[in-house]
Amino acid sequence: MFKKAKDNVEYLISLFLSIFAALLIGALIMLLNGQNPIVGYKALVLGAFGSKYKIATTFAKTVPLILTGLATAISFMSGIFNIGGEGQLYLGAFAAAYIGFTFTNLPVFIAIILAIIASALIGGLYAYFPAVLRVKYEIDEVITTIMLNSVAILFTNYLVNYPFQAAQGKMGGTDMIAEAFKFPKLVKLSKLNTSIFYTAIIAIIIYYLIKKTPFGYNFRIVGENGVFAKYAGINTKRYMILAMVISGALCGIAGAFEVYGVHYRFLQNISKGYAFDGMLVALIVKNNPVGIILMSIFFAMLKTGSNSMEVATGIPSELILVIQSIIILFIAGENGFKKLFKEYRLKRGKLVK
C-alpha cells in the first residue's frame, strides 16, 4: 500500500508541476505579447466558470472528451493503439443521425437506445477490422486506424452532401432528428444536455470493467506483458480485438451524443478532433478513468475559457494549445522529472534508509 501510494503521489506531483510550468510558460508568452497574464488567466477562469451558463458550457464539452478518453484508455492499456477514434466518431454520429431522422415514429426511448446501439456497433465494427489485421497479420494498427479516419470523414462528407443532404437550408448536414428524440437541455442556451448522465453511467461501467472485473485485469496484463498473458493461458488476440471494439464503440457513442445532444443532426465537421483531444487526456493521466474525467474538465475549461479570454483581453485562444502541448511534453518527460526530483531530495538529504 505504502509504495503504491508513493508512486501515485510522485506522479501527481510531477503532473501538477507540469501543469504549473505550462501555465507559467503561457504567462511568459502573454508577457512577451505585451499582455497581463493575471488579467488573462482571470478571464480564462471566469470564461469557463463565471456563470451558470459558462459552467454548463464547460461541462458540455467534457462529454466527448471523457468518452474518447476512456476509449483511448481501454485500447492503450491493452497494448493496441486505436488512433482511429475520429473516424469511428463520425460513423457513429452518422448512424445515430440516420436513425433519428428516418424512424421518426419510434417511441423516444426505443429510438434513443437504438441510436446508441447503432453508433456503438458501427464504431466498434470500424475498429474491429484494423484490430484483426493487427492481431492476425501484424499490420500496424496505428497506421491503419489513422488512415481509416480520413476514409470515414470523407465518406460521411459525401453522404451529407449527396444522398442525405438536408432538405432545408444549405449547411452541410443531414436532416434534423425528430424533435422528441433531442436530449433535453439542462441549462438554458448552453449545450449541456442529458448525455452527461449517460456519459457518467458509461464512465462508471468502464471504470468497473477496468478496475473491478477479471476482464479488466486481463486487458491490463495483456497490455503490460503480452507474453506473460499468453503463457498464463489468456487468449491475448481475443482481448486485443475486444479492447479495440469497445474503444471504437465508445467513440461511436460519443458521435451519437454530439448528434442527439448538441447539433440534432449530423454535420460534416461534427468533430474537430475530439478523439485526438481525448487521446491526449488519456495519455496525460495514464489511462486512469477517474483521471480522465478530471482532466477532461480541465481541458474543457481551457477550451471554453480561452475563447472568452480572447474576446475579453485579445490574448489569442491558440495560446491554450501551446499550454496543452507543454503539459504533454512535460508528462512525456515525467521520468526525467521524477529523477530530478529524487536527486533534489537526495541533495537535500531527506533520505529513507
Binding site: M1, F2, K3, K4, D7, K212, T213, P214, Y217, N218, R220, I221, E224, N225, V227, F228, A229, K230, Y231, A232, G233, I234, N235, K342, R345, L346, L351, V352, K353
Partner: protein
C-alpha cells in the same frame, strides 16, 4: 607485505531508497585473486561499480595504486589500468573478434583509416602472450560464449589493464569452460603479474580459484577471509547470516505411473531452424526428470513446446494419456500443468503489476476470487497474496509493491508461489534458481522436493549441473536438439556427464 593496488576507506553509496554500500573498508593486494561473494542485493555490484568508476561513492575514499581518486569515470579507471568484464558481454555480434577487441582505439593507418590487418596482428600477439586462443577473423555471432568471454578479457588487456574485474564470469559457462577460464586467470596472476577481482555467488568456485574472499551481506562487509582457512559451509553461513543446510536429498524408488510422454518431438527455434530433432522421454508420477545441457541446445524450445507456447512441427506430447499436441497454453494448463518459465521477467511476470496481480494470474476467474465471473473479490485476493507471500517467504514491504522492484530471487519466489499453488500434477520448471541467492535456493529446492513427494511429475531444466544432480531422480542430456544420454541419478558423475552435454558419447572419450 605486498603493494595495496586498490584500497577503499569507509566507502558508502546511498541510492534514493537504499543504502547499497555501508561504510566499507578493504584493500586488494597486487598479484592476488580476490573474490567478492554475497547474495543478490548484498551490494557486490555497487562496490564493483565504484571501483571501476561507474559512479561516485556518497562518502569515503578510493585509492588506486596509492593515488586518491577524485573524478570517477570508467575512462579514468581504464587509464589507471582497471579492466572490467561484465556479466552481459558488450560485444558487437556482426564484427570480427579482432574488430571487437580494438573497438574504440583502433590502430590507424595514415591517422584516419582503421587498419584491419594491423588489428589482426595485434590480437594474434595478444592471445599468444596471454595464452588466450582466439581466431581474430571469426565473427562474434559465430563463436561460443566461452570464446566471447575470452574476447572480453582480451579487450581489457588490449587497453592495458593490469587489474581485471570479472562479474559472475562462470554464469554462462560449462564445467569444462569454467576450468579453462580458471587456468587463464591463474596464468594471468602467477605468470603475468596481473590482479584479478572476481565477483560470484558460486562458493565452490571461490574456493578453487581465489586467494582471499570478501563476504558481503546487506550492504555491509561481513568479513574478509583467507580462502585456505574456510570451507563452503562457513562461507555460506557468512553470506546468509545463519546456518545453511544443503543436505543430500532422499531419492526414493519411483513407482508411479507415467504422466507425461513425449514422442519424436521436432520444434523450430525463432530463426526457423530445428531446435529439437526428435526428442522422446517420459516422466512418471512423483519423479523429477532433470535435463542437463549447455544452454541453447533446445532446452528453451522444449519447455515452450510442452507449455503450448511453441508450435510442434512433428511428434506428439501425451499428458495423462491425452494427446495434447498443438494445445494452446490455456488447454495445457487445464490438463493440470503448471510452468516456471526460464525467463521470469519476460514470460513469468508482469513487472509493472503488483505482487497481488501477479499472483492472481490464472485464478482470476475462480469462484473463490471472483463473484459470478464478473466481480473480483479484492479482499480475498489480497489475503491470498499475503498468505502466499508468507508461505513462500517473498521479502517485500507489501503485496502492492510492483514485482519489478523486487530482487531476482524474490521475483522467482512470486512465480513459484503462483505456479506451485495451482495444485497441479505436472510441473515444467526451467532454471528455477538462476540469479537467486543461496538462502532462496535452499528454499526453492525444498519446495520442488515437496511437490515431488506430493506426487507431481516434474521436468527440471537447469544450466546448473549441481542443481540437476541434487534434485533429479533421472537425468537426460540434451545436445543440439537430441537426447544424448539417460541416467538414473547416481549412475554418473558430473564430469562424465559433461561429455554427453557436448555430444561425445562415453565410448568415444
Amino acid at each position: 607485505m605486498s603493494e595495496r593496488i586498490i584500497e577503499l576507506k569507509n566507502v558508502s553509496k546511498q541510492f534514493p531508497s537504499v543504502l547499497a554500500n555501508d561504510n566499507i573498508s578493504l584493500h586488494i593486494n597486487k598479484g592476488e585473486i580476490y573474490a567478492i561473494v554475497g547474495e543478490n542485493g548484498a551490494g557486490k555490484s555497487t562496490l564493483m561499480k565504484t571501483m571501476y568508476g561507474l559512479h561516485e561513492p556518497t562518502s569515503g575514499e578510493v585509492y588506486i595504486k596509492g593515488e586518491k581518486i577524485k573524478s570517477f569515470s570508467p575512462s579514468n579507471s581504464i587509464k589507471r589500468g582497471i579492466g572490467m568484464v561484465h556479466q552481459h558481454f558488450m560485444l558487437v555480434p556482426s564484427f570480427t573478434i579482432a574488430e571487437n577487441i580494438v573497438l574504440g582505439s583502433e590502430p590507424r593507418s595514415k591517422r584516419i583509416f582503421s587498419d584491419k590487418k594491423k588489428a589482426v596482428d595485434i590480437v594474434k600477439s595478444l592471445s599468444r602472450t596471454y595464452g588466450l586462443e582466439v581466431d581474430p577473423n571469426a565473427k562474434i555471432q559465430d563463436v561460443s560464449v566461452g570464446i566471447q568471454q575470452r574476447v572480453e578479457i582480451l579487450k581489457t588487456l588490449y587497453k592495458g589493464a593490469d587489474i581485471l574485474i570479472l562479474d559472475e564470469p562462470t554464469a554462462v559457462l560449462t564445467p569444462q569452460e569454467t576450468e579453462e577460464l580458471f587456468k587463464v586467470i591463474k596464468r594471468l596472476v602467477n605468470e603475468l603479474d596481473k590482479t584479478v577481482i572476481i565477483i560470484t555467488h558460486k562458493l565452490n568456485e571461490v574456493l578453487t580459484i581465489s586467494d582471499r574472499v570478501a563476504v558481503m551481506r546487506q550492504g555491509k562487509l561481513v568479513d574478509v577471509v583467507n580462502t585456505r582457512e574456510v570451507n563452503e559451509k562457513i562461507l555460506a553461513e557468512l553470506m546468509v547470516g545463519r546456518e545453511v543446510l544443503l543436505e543430500d536429498i532422499d531419492k526414493p524408488e519411483i513407482k508411479g505411473e507415467e504422466v507425461v510422454r513425449v514422442k519424436d518431438l521436432v520444434v523450430k527455434d525463432n530463426r526457423g531452424f530445428d531446435a529439437l530433432k526428435g526428442v522422446s522421454f517420459h516422466i512418471n508420477k512423483g519423479e523429477i526428470l532433470g535435463v542437463a545441457g549447455i544452454e541453447g541446445n533446445g532446452q528453451s524450445e522444449l519447455t515452450e513446446a510442452l507449455a503450448g507456447m511453441r508450435k510442434i512441427e512433428v511428434g506428439h506430447v501425451f499428458i495423462k494419456g491425452i494427446d495434447a499436441t498443438g494445445f494452446n497454453p490455456k488447454k495445457i494448463r487445464e490438463l493440470g500443468v503448471a510452468h516456471i518459465p526460464e525467463d521470469r521477467l519476460v514470460t513469468g511476470l508482469s513487472k509493472v503489476s503488483s505482487i497481488t496481480d501477479n499472483i492472481l494470474m490464472g485464478s482470476q476467474f475462480k469462484e473463490e476470487f471472483c463473484k459470478n465471473k464478473l466481480h473480483l473479490k479484492r479482499d480475498k485476493i489480497r489475503d491470498y497474496a499475503k498468505k502466499l507471500i508468507k508461505k513462500f517467504d517473498v521479502r517485500t514491504p507489501s503485496e502492492d509493491v510492483k514485482v519489478g522492484s523486487l530482487s531476482g530471487g524474490n521475483m522467482q519466489k512470486v512465480v513459484i508461489a503462483r505456479e506451485f499453488s495451482f495444485n497441479t500434477e505436472i510441473l515444467l520448471i526451467s532454471q528455477p534458481t538462476r540469479g537467486v541467492d543461496i538462502g532462496a535456493i535452499e528454499f526453492i529446492h525444498d519446495q520442488i522436493i515437496k511437490k515431488r513427494n506430493e506426487g507431481c511429475a516434474i521436468l527440471l531444466i537447469s544450466a546448473e549441473l549441481d542443481e540437476i544432480f541434487r534434485l533429479s531422480d533421472r537425468i537426460i542430456t540434451l545436445y543440439e536438439g537430441k537426447v544424448t544420454g539417460e541416467f538414473k541419478n547416481g549412475e554418473i558423475t558430473k564430469n562424465e556427464i559433461g561429455y554427453y552435454m557436448t555430444g561425445n558419447r562415453k565410448e568415444q572419450v
